[in-house]
């Protein structure tokens, strides 16, 4: 078998978690460093996988395939293409940063880091699985640590952490219940008994009737859409992030919800192109709901985490409208924007975490002038905020612009409404930055310490990616394009072929 960096990257946090089981719970330093070390390995390997990807060859690389349950056609198949690699890299960038963002956790440190590593491994697994069953398995693995982490290490503000954890989990489960039905329907309808398989590549080659595609895509769109906080199935997101501990907010907003967009494209659009085409206008409409509705609500928020929570819902609107455009440019933008939003929202949540840890409040009217005492945290927030409002030179400008171009070709009016979102975004972002970071020095914060040492890691890692990916966007866009172009080509070919046949066989 070939050396597969992605497989080892996936194993690293799992091995780390297993090691932690044998460490005495009072060895906090050791626990933290083991977690950091295992995520460091995973990060390095995913960087290597990203930059060693062979563009000439294209397709899935670093593949591993081990038959698992032959009777059901389940294979432990891993691999990565231009669509998975940015997501894999994102998972590890955020995962690595999340370890350091949790550096000061004193309560049940050992359990915390075990769960965090399992969570990261679960997310990573979904992005590198080539088998639908394995994909779903990893997705379900993610739910358990999230629930426990929110109710033990979370915080209660507007809603209690128990409510937040419950809401987050139930939403994830309801989404996944619809997904499960959809995926099983796919599995059963693709091939006759005996030839059935869960391999995504095989499912993508199967053909389905138009009516099946339409109802099955609706199931997937609901499942993946609610994970991506698609309007109006978004209300778990702000409460969930607010209740969750920093690391969970970072991972959830940063990468976990992107499984929704990833799955929608990789499984939904690719396997069920006619269904996607049928539902795309609805998704585009809901996407504008995301952008505008959540944007306006973010204006009315007073809790920092709720601002970023609603802002995250708003940004997912761009991802959705880009996907709904169903052309290369729009989908490229959507995928790149998932990466961009991941980096900046994780950075924002990390910085909010530091502010909360020191001031014990996230209530904006109680904060102010923090630029005086915590210039580094202020820099991080400024960077994340500027990226959020789509400033060129930072990671999200090129993806957003690409989405605008792609979605305008498909839905001109909706696209212009979505572009108007840049004004609302600026309005709430600038207000938060002004009210939290700037203004007169407040004496009550004078003894607060700025971040230093290992606490700097999230700022340095995520901030560097934010700037570098913004200045040199081709490193991101070429990779995304290598993954998206073949998918969109296949989809468009299938659509034109099937509409030529009169909409498929009834």
């Amino acid at each position: 078998m070939n050396f597969s960096p992605i497989a080892i990257a996936l194993l690293a946090p799992i091995v780390g978690a297993m090691l932690l089981i044998f460490i005495p719970k009072d060895e906090r330093r050791l626990i933290r460093w083991i977690a950091a070390f295992s995520m460091g390995i995973a990060l390095l390997l995913s960087l290597a996988a990203y930059f060693m990807y062979d563009f000439v060859k294209g397709g899935f690389q670093y593949t591993i395939s081990i038959p698992w349950v032959k009777e059901l056609g389940i294979t432990l198949a891993l691999g990565a293409d231009g669509l998975s690699l940015p997501m894999l890299l994102l998972t590890n960038l955020i995962g690595f940063s999340a370890i350091f963002a949790s550096w000061n956790i004193d309560k049940r440190t050992k359990e915390f880091f075990i769960l965090l590593l399992l969570l990261i491994a679960g997310v990573m697994g979904t992005f590198v699985s080539l088998d639908l069953f394995v994909f779903f398995l990893f997705y379900e693995v993610v739910v358990i640590p999230i629930y426990i982490m929110v109710i033990i290490w979370g915080s209660s503000k507007r809603v209690t952490k128990e409510y937040a954890g419950m809401k987050l989990t139930i939403y994830l489960l309801i989404g996944s219940a619809f997904l499960l039905v959809g995926l099983v329907a796919l599995y059963l309808n693709a091939y006759p008994a005996g030839q059935r398989t869960f391999l995504m590549s095989a499912l993508a080659q199967a053909s389905f009737s138009e009516s099946f595609q339409i109802y099955c895509f609706a199931l997937l769109a609901f499942g993946f859409g609610s994970l991506l906080s698609m309007f109006p199935f978004h209300s778990w997101s702000p409460d969930g992030y607010a209740g969750a501990p920093t690391a969970v907010s970072m991972i959830h907003a940063g990468v976990l919800k992107k499984i929704g967009g990833y799955g929608l494209l990789r499984i939904g659009v690719l396997t069920l192109p006619l269904g996607a085409k049928f539902w795309a206008p609805v998704i585009a409409l809901l996407a504008v709901g995301n952008v505008a509705y959540a944007g306006f609500i973010a204006l009315a928020q007073k809790d920092l985490k709720y601002v970023v929570g609603y802002s995250s819902v708003s940004h997912m609107g761009y991802v959705l409208i880009g996907l709904a455009a169903m052309n290369v440019i729009g989908v490229n933008g959507a995928v790149a924007n998932m990466f961009a939003h991941g980096v900046m929202s994780a950075l924002f949540f990390a910085m909010i975490g530091w502010v909360y840890e020191r001031t014990h409040t996230r209530w904006i009217p109680d904060l102010g002038g923090l630029g005086h005492q915590m210039p580094r945290v202020a820099t991080g927030m400024l960077l994340a905020g500027m990226a959020g409002l789509g400033l060129p030179g930072l990671v999200s400008f090129v993806p957003e612009f690409t989405i605008f171009i792609g979605s305008f070709a498909a839905y001109p009016v909706l696209a212009v409404l979505a572009i108007a979102g840049v004004v609302i975004t600026a309005l709430y972002t600038l207000r938060v930055l002004a009210n939290v970071l700037f203004g007169p020095r407040r004496a009550e914060f004078d003894d607060l310490q700025d971040i230093k040492g290992p606490e700097m890691v999230p700022l340095v890692v995520l901030g560097a990616v934010l700037i570098l990916a913004g200045m040199f966007p081709w490193y991101l866009m070429d990779m995304v394009n290598a993954g998206v172009q073949p998918i969109v080509d296949t989809v468009l070919a299938k659509v034109s072929q099937m509409t030529a046949l009169g909409g498929g066989v009834k």
């Binding site: 138009e210 004004v423 066989v505």
Partner: protein
């Protein structure tokens, strides 16, 4: 020498890259070394200035560049159907801008070593200034709309950071926010315009566009006009045109060197420059172009009418900037790129000079801003006063000072191209300009001294840059004077070259009006023959309207509060009580159902069997009704 000129021409990307390098060096290494930081910023920007001179030399030695720009670029990102490059476009216009921006940046940086001396954020200030210079220069050499937009936003960021430089002041913080927000509204229009250009013309490249636009104008005139309007919304925000001018006076919260560099000489003219770059587009979209002309002319008049009654020195200068930007925009609208760019250049000299002189005065008075609390400053600050007077004469349009030539060119072109109404409006504006400028000069620098003030002349580091600008404010306009063969208009133009003509009537009237304005200011504020208060009382309503800036700020605040915040609050309520209400309601329903259904699970096997049987019957009936069988689904699936 030719080696250097050629090197500069083909390495023009170094001009923005060097100040950016200065920014990086200061942020990552020189944060605690004030002198080294300032030296790095000044020397690297200075080298950029030399390179800009080289580029200008290259254009002079190769006149064909004026009509056929030299373009070289590299891929930024691309995919099927969308390809974006970053590069350099060198022609007479961009060469002129490179010269002006590097020159003023370097001078302002030198001035700042004196002005910002002892400030705790000294290195931060130089880092931001360097980043600004880099972004502005990147904007100038842009080869396409998207590159221009990228740097357009970055200069906006620097403006935001520098307006909010004294971030502990609430007023500065709010002004920074307002500037970003207002220009954002303009950027939205510009962005939609760019998306339309890419979608319908298939390219964003300036040179390619100028080839495609004439044909496109015949095919889709309405669409092109729409694009023109949308693109122009950007400059309305950035270059402070009515009604998005409101941020610029507030931007004076930034340190004075920032006001001089960003909010007078360079960044605010980015909108003018954008229209100039997109001149091909506007010249084939006449409705959009006329709109540009009338909005510019109106803004020039409107802002001047506010400047008449303002009391803070830098605010008067800010409204004057808005007014002068209106002139530049109007010149583009009436179809003269040359006149607009010429005024842009001379305005950069004399307005930067006036802001630096104002900074020198405010520095000496520890931030006292009201001109009526100053008085007699010339005694203690002769150099500063002299510089301010030179700037005021230049802006008033007295020959042979720089402002005369460029303003005259604008007036001539407006009249010649048949915009008679605008010509009269612009002439009246010239009168008002002379009046309000000398109102400020006579009040602040002459007359009785205020005993509370203890002004002192500024250090040499501040006086020398002002001196350079003063010289340019006097002679800088001669390059475009009618008696110069192959002058400014030969190198910076659109279309064929027309030698500027001297129109004695236009020049005579404008000079006369300017002199009248100065005389009136002298009568009221110098000799005090007429009491200003009586005049204000007589003007009554008009005075109040002007002093309160026509209440446009209040209007915007109201819109913001009612529409943006109001919508936000309403939708939040909807989210909490309707969207989430349904979710929580469903959850409660489930809990309720669970409560009821637990009686179903009673452990009696015969009961379960009954339910099981009933369910099977129900499902069979249902599938019979809907005509669905497992086989049917499967065969359909395979065949499809």
């Amino acid at each position: 020498m030719t080696d250097f000129v050629n090197f500069a021409l083909y390495h023009a990307w170094l001009i923005p890259a060097l100040p950016f390098l200065a920014f990086v060096l200061i942020v990552f290494g020189l944060r605690r070394h004030e002198k080294a930081a300032a030296a790095t910023a000044i020397s690297l920007t200075g080298i950029s200035f030399l390179l800009a001179l080289g580029v200008a030399g290259a254009v002079f030695s190769r006149p064909e560049l004026v009509e056929k720009p030299l373009v070289y670029s590299a891929r930024w990102f691309s995919m099927a159907g969308l390809s974006v490059e970053m590069g350099c476009l060198i022609d007479g216009t961009s060469a002129m801008m490179l010269f002006v921006v590097t020159l003023i940046s370097t001078l302002v940086m030198i001035y700042s070593t004196g002005y910002m001396h002892g400030d705790e954020g000294f290195t931060r200030f130089f880092a931001y200034l360097s980043l600004f210079a880099a972004s502005m220069l990147g904007l100038v050499i842009a080869t396409n709309f998207l590159q221009l937009f990228v740097f357009w936003e970055l200069v906006g960021l620097c403006s935001y950071l520098l307006i909010g430089y004294y971030y502990y002041k609430v007023s500065a913080r709010e002004a920074a926010k307002k500037a970003f927000m207002t220009t954002r509204v303009g950027d939205f229009g510009l962005l939609v315009g760019i998306v339309l250009i890419q979608t319908f013309l298939g390219t964003m490249d300036f040179v390619e566009l100028s080839g495609k636009l004439p044909a496109f104008a015949k095919e889709a005139p309405v669409l092109l006009t729409t694009i023109g309007f949308l693109v122009f919304i950007g400059p309305i925000g950035k270059s402070g045109q009515f009604p998005l001018h409101v941020w610029l006076p507030d931007a004076m919260e930034g340190p004075s060197p920032v006001s001089a560099l960003i909010h007078a000489a360079t960044m605010v003219v980015a909108g003018v420059y954008l229209v100039a770059r997109a001149f091909t587009m506007f010249s084939v979209a006449p409705e959009a172009q006329h709109f540009v002309a009338y909005l510019g002319g109106f803004t020039a008049f409107f802002a001047a009418s506010i400047a008449l009654t303002q009391r803070e020195m830098k605010r008067i200068l800010a409204y004057s900037t808005i007014s002068q930007l209106g002139y530049m925009i109007m010149a583009l609208g009436v179809g003269s790129l040359t006149a607009s760019m010429f005024h842009l250049m001379t305005h950069a000299y004399f307005k930067a000079l006036m802001f630096l002189a104002a900074g020198s005065a405010l520095h000496a008075l520890h931030g006292k801003a009201d001109i009526f609390e100053m008085g007699g400053l010339y005694r203690k600050m002769p150099w500063t006063a002299a510089f301010m007077v030179i700037g005021a004469i230049a802006i008033a349009g007295i020959p042979p000072f720089a402002g005369f030539w460029s303003k005259d060119e604008i007036l001539v072109m407006t009249k010649l191209h048949g915009f008679t109404g605008l010509y009269y409006l612009a002439s009246v504006t010239a009168f008002m300009t002379a009046f309000y400028m000398f109102r400020m000069v006579f009040t602040a620098f002459f007359g009785k001294e205020n005993p509370e003030n203890h002004p002192h002349e500024s250090p040499v580091s501040m006086l020398v840059p002002m001196g350079v600008l003063a010289v340019l404010s006097v002679v800088g306009g001669l390059v475009g004077a009618p008696f110069v063969a192959k002058g400014f208009g030969y190198w910076v133009r659109y279309g064929a070259y027309h030698h500027p003509e001297f129109h004695a009537d236009v020049a005579g009237i404008s000079v006369l009006l300017a002199l009248l304005g100065i005389a009136l200011a002298w009568t009221i504020y110098g000799a005090k023959k007429v009491a200003a208060k009586d005049l204000a009382a007589k003007a009554g309503f008009l005075y109040t309207l002007s002093y309160n800036k026509y209440y446009i700020d209040e209007l915007f605040q109201w819109i913001n509060r009612v529409f943006a915040d109001g919508t936000g609050k309403i939708l939040y309520w909807v989210d909490l009580y309707i969207v989430d209400g349904i979710v929580n309601g469903l959850a409660r329903l489930t809990a309720f159902a669970g409560e009821r259904f637990r009686y179903v699970q009673n452990g009696q096997v015969q009961h379960y069997a009954l339910v099981f049987f009933a369910s099977v019957v129900f499902i069979i009936l249902l599938s019979g009704l809907l005509g669905v069988t497992t086989a049917g689904v499967q065969s359909g699936g395979v065949a499809g």
